[in-house]
Symmetry: C2
Subunit: 494 residues, 2 copies
């Protein structure tokens, strides 16, 4: 075997370990009996040690370098694949073991402290942990390296190639217009909203309806399935095994269905990735921002569109007797209900990105040392008020609401809004294809999925996300399309 | 760490791998989407290579020897534990890699050939594969070693310490009496049998009923669960994670319930094993014959007893409207229906062991070279007729019916009957305890399970099965109790 084949074999082996851990993780969330959890943690920790051992081994780098040396410049995609594998190797190996151990321990303690602090609303209990994690992430940023500021290094961990400067430009363009759109949208929704009939929406009927819709939009059930969990997710257990989960609310079938469309968006991306070399970057998703573009596209652009419900609302009415006499027009005011809330995860399509802009600006400020961490609650509340026009009632509904910072994930939040921006820009480009546009109007999504497969999915992680979006849409990522989409849906039309 | 602790840590690691493979195997049979199978095979093969690597490593033997050297004779149980681990190590490592590879390849081809041969009823298509597998198993027997004849080595692979001579003595004692009991039982059942009402027995109601019964007899659902598969099984995914599966027949709730009791018998044994050192013999089941004693005990001694149904038949009637007006007496004739069939897996409690006696005698003959393998169908049919009084209609319902020989499993069949004999002998001994006997009469099984836990489960694989049975019952395994049980249930009483 040449070095390329040997390296691919090694990457495949590493992927067996990761996906095996995913099977165990999926089982843990879905069917595992409660007493099994301690032993399951041992099994998972053994697997993660093996994967780490393999992917940081000298043999790994040796074969990778060997492969890069033997592949000529003409084989550009193979070289891009190997270069991305090398970037990931360096990210994983440049941190000293001591730092990784300290990071793991600190964030494990921080998660407990955060949960306690959130419960009591007492930020001071979380502060020392937050400080420690921020310092550790500064250390990591120094080791990973950056051009302008430490936060760049953290951002590009989740969104390859993104920088504070570029994101600031995008988000700064978004901010005032977004605040305005959100305000108008909330006012308009208040005057129009008709509540969903009280139900019940039996779970078995929701399951049947969800599955019908997921199948119709193109999620493959021979390479996937849907199960039930408290926190919905999508997980990749192998190239042809991508599973979703959802939860059910007997008073609202809509939340589960839109959740399934969201996860199916993630799932169809994974199902559409190349499968010839599992474990290589060419067969892997590229970034959180692109992944989220797929989920938001199917959840929001498809699942909240009038055309979608023109086809599916009659089917919903067959499944749920409670909808009887409730018109499509009334129902659409529920699908498009918009409101301000202090809580990100309870917010809607029109206000969500404001929550992210807030977090991005605060994270940037933290890593620029713009303010002392002790003042975070005050800074949060003040910034929140500027965007939303009111203050959160307490820290639990303010700066303590999200788990991310307690896990040491800084630079993660912006990818949610990148996902929204990408989704709108991709949708706009896709609809330039007459087949896609016709399909959207008839709620037939084969052309749309085909377009995504071709223009996003099949490229795996070969290119930087921004490059991928530019190749797909003809221009660099920009906020205008998303604003236009929100305005059209929530302010002027639909 | 001393050698003992180090060795236990290594055994635990090996157990993580085995149980991880069990999770993947369970998922494969229950929920895995169809397109995932090829990649799943790769994941499983990676795990099995890692487990093999570990359990046959020089370090394994070194630590094992080290531990044996440091443990004084007084710590008898620890020594027994280590000795059994050494016996297993030697069994696994004394076969040359070439032989193991040839064995794997030959049985993989044989399984296909067997399936084809069974479909067409053409034994000659299976013959060359059978010959090759028998020869390979002779080679294995020579390498493993034996006292009197090669078949001993194969038997003791599945049932530690058992020999052809001892089994012959047991089965020879059983054979004529069993044939007589079976004949009387079949005649009696023919005159009495009232068919089960046609149903339907809705699957959801069967699931609810099965779960209620399984929980009541003592199977733990916080350390287990029941799912649906074509071929029911019980699998151990960790010390506190033992899962069952069953299948449903909408025309007969009884088959699924008795299947669940069978698997729950296996499951309660696994749930009752010590959990302090996973991967060590002391925390493992001892043999197929003891495992099967537990499944048969709960399926037959409990699940087919009149006392059991006096409690549960009224509950069944609440679950299944189809039973309305059908009396318990009538129902019991269905539970005790007995008939001759050429097919082992379709046979019943009273005739099952005849099928096993046949296979034991033929396997013994094969390894003694009593007849040429080309004559196996003729020898089968002739032996079958002597036991059953009629000949199988064709080879597919004769010597080609079972998968075992095509998998290279010789010496496996007898453990089914050992399970039945052990179950009857254990049951008899358990009922000498007044609390157990009273419980049996009231269909309350806490005392019975407690007795099994104490006398069988908690000993893991420390002792030879025959020793375990002798310690539990006061005498060496013998067939008399089983015959007595069958006679009482199927000929004279109940």
């Amino acid at each position: 075997m040449n070095a390329l084949d040997s390296f691919r074999a090694l990457a495949r082996e590493c992927n067996w370990i990761h996906t095996t851990a995913s099977v165990l993780g999926w089982d843990q969330e879905t069917y595992m009996p409660p007493e099994a959890s301690a032993f399951r943690a041992e099994q998972l920790s053994w697997l993660s040690a093996r994967a780490h051992e393999l992917a940081t081994s000298p043999r790994w780098l040796e074969l990778l370098e060997g492969a890069l040396a033997e592949i000529p410049a003409e084989q550009q995609e193979v070289r891009l694949d190997l270069q991305e594998m090398k970037r990931r190797y360096l990210l994983a190996t440049c941190l000293p073991v001591e730092l990784v151990a300290r990071d793991t321990k600190t964030s494990s303690l921080a998660k407990h402290a955060w949960a306690e602090a959130r419960k009591s609303g007492d930020f001071s209990r979380f502060l020392p942990h937050l400080s420690a994690l921020v310092e550790i992430n500064r250390e990591k940023a120094e080791l990973w390296g950056y051009e302008h500021e430490p936060y760049d290094a953290l951002l590009s961990c989740f969104e390859r190639g993104s920088t504070t400067a570029r994101l600031s430009a995008e988000f700064d363009a978004l901010r005032p217009a977004l605040a305005e759109v959100a305000k108008s949208a909330v006012e308009r929704s208040r005057t129009r909203h008709k509540p969903l009939p009280a139900g019940p929406y039996p779970i078995a009927a929701q399951q049947a309806f969800n599955e019908k819709v997921a199948r119709d939009v193109g999620y493959s059930f021979t390479a996937g399935r849907i199960d039930t969990t408290t926190h919905p997710f999508c997980t990749n257990l192998g190239p042809r095994d991508v599973r979703l989960t959802t939860r059910y609310d007997e008073n609202d079938f809509c939340s589960s269905l839109l959740g399934v469309l969201h996860e199916a968006g993630h799932g169809m991306y994974e199902q559409g990735l190349p499968a010839d070399h599992p474990g290589m970057a060419s067969c892997d998703s590229v970034s959180l921002g692109v992944h989220e573009s797929q989920s938001r596209l199917w959840e929001n652009h498809v699942g909240r569109s009038r055309a979608f419900w023109e086809k599916w609302y009659p089917v919903a009415c067959e499944h749920f007797a409670a909808l009887k006499g409730h018109s499509l027009d009334d129902f659409m005011t529920h699908v498009h209900e918009v409101n301000f809330t202090p809580i990100r995860v309870e917010s809607d399509e029109a206000t969500y990105d404001l929550h992210i802009v807030l977090r991005f600006e605060l994270e940037r400020g933290i890593f620029r040392r713009d303010f002392d961490l002790a003042y975070l609650p005050a800074v949060w509340d003040e910034s929140f008020e500027k965007l939303f026009g009111f203050r959160p009632p307490n820290a639990s509904q303010g700066c303590l609401q999200d788990i991310h910072w307690s896990m040491g994930a800084y630079g993660y939040f912006p990818t949610y809004t990148l996902g929204n921006l990408n989704a709108s820009q991709l949708m706009q480009a896709a609809c330039r294809e007459p087949l896609v546009a016709q399909g959207m109007a008839r709620a037939e999504y084969v052309p749309l999925l085909q377009w995504m497969r071709e223009i996003i999915h099949r490229h795996g992680a070969l290119h930087d996300p921004a490059v991928l979006i530019e190749r797909a849409t003809g221009e660099m990522p920009r906020a205008a399309y998303h604003l236009e989409h929100l305005r059209r849906r929530y302010v002027t039309g639909e």
